[in-house]
Symmetry: C2
Subunit: 221 residues, 2 copies
């Protein structure tokens, strides 16, 4: 018993989800990768096995993964967000659901276009109901940087209404080698979601591969 | 002729406006401080005179200041935003109007509460009409740090629809000793406005006086 929660990564074959899966498995977390394609999930899990420090990762459907995880990390495109939440809803009651979704609307992904609910995180909480403990995080980290081994020069803003849920996800961020920052209630997640479009635009303007953010003045760097 | 625009600072007796006035005057800009109270504006201007490097700052009403400035910087509380925009509207046609306003709704200023128009910046552009060139900036800089002489560890995200207007305000930020960052269209200003509530909450949570942000990965630090 490591005492660490089992992490389900719904959409764990994508770039951001894959990076989180890899870093979490390397940090000794038991990881269950979910995907619409079980084959792809199993292949992704096999690919991670050499990097894992504890139980080897396994792959399954999104719904099975959500059921297997103590903490469920959601890393899916905005276009599938609602449908996947409906699918996993019966399996996440009482659990922390970490929503990493940025509500990008192609083709203008460098332009902030807020959803009717203001943020994906608030939309997720409404969709899942009070039973699930939605925490929003990991919006601003470039997926490619998360997939590489190098240190990532980016903070993770963590939003949740319950301070203990925020603390749990700050810990997950730190395990993945990132600094997690308590960033207030779920209603504040719009700040980080919107910032991702800003960062995409900054990447284009300055011709850089992965701009990120740091919170300054915390005196704990 | 310095070639520098004259800067009007509407609400220039406040903490943020005062800090910008001081740093801009020290950088050699001609500064006109506006306030609802002409007496206060004149007193603030006199107080800045020793720091000024060019023409001494002067103080006047908000409307007169807006008329005198080539660039008009707006630093007023959200509660007076609409009324002051209506007042200065006849004096800002064709000018860059730098809106620094964060739409905080007391008492819950650490909670993001977006206005109906999504952001103060978009509200300002609608209110002023197409004649004015609204640029949004300076949302995340702690006013107290701006008023002090020390370097400020915070970037200034600059939003505007016209790249040349963004560039003009990036230059103002740099003159004030800050790094300005091209952050996309005015619609993106919601990211920085919302981030200010996040930073206020971070100050409380971590018990620090003035958290800020840095964009990482620009390779021009």
């Amino acid at each position: 018993m490591s005492g660490k929660p089992t992490l389900a990564i719904v959409g764990g074959t994508g770039a951001l989800g894959g990076g989180l899966a890899r870093r979490s498995a390397a940090a000794g977390y038991e990881v269950v990768i979910g995907s619409r394609s079980v084959d792809k999930a199993e292949a992704a899990a096999r690919a991670l096995a050499p990097a894992a420090r504890g139980v080897p990762p396994r792959g399954t459907s999104n719904v099975e993964a959500a059921g297997a995880g103590d903490v469920v990390i959601l890393s899916v495109p905005w276009a599938s967000h609602g449908a996947i939440l409906d699918e996993i809803k019966p399996r996440v009651a009482g659990k922390i659901v970490v929503d990493t979704t940025v509500p990008l609307v192609p083709p203008k992904v460098a332009r902030v276009q807020l959803p009717a609910e203001t943020s994906a995180a608030v939309a997720a909480q409404r969709r899942l109901g009070d039973g699930a403990r939605v925490v929003a995080a990991f919006h601003n980290v470039a997926a490619a940087k998360l997939q590489a081994d190098a240190p990532v020069d980016c903070d993770v803003l963590v939003f949740a209404d319950a301070p203990e849920d925020r603390a749990a996800v700050v810990e997950l961020a730190e395990a993945a080698g990132l600094r997690g920052v308590h960033a207030g209630p779920l209603a504040n997640a719009v700040a980080a979601e919107a910032l991702t479009s800003v960062l995409i635009g900054i990447n284009r303007h300055y011709k850089v591969p992965g701009a990120g953010i740091r919170i300054t003045g915390l005196d704990k760097d």
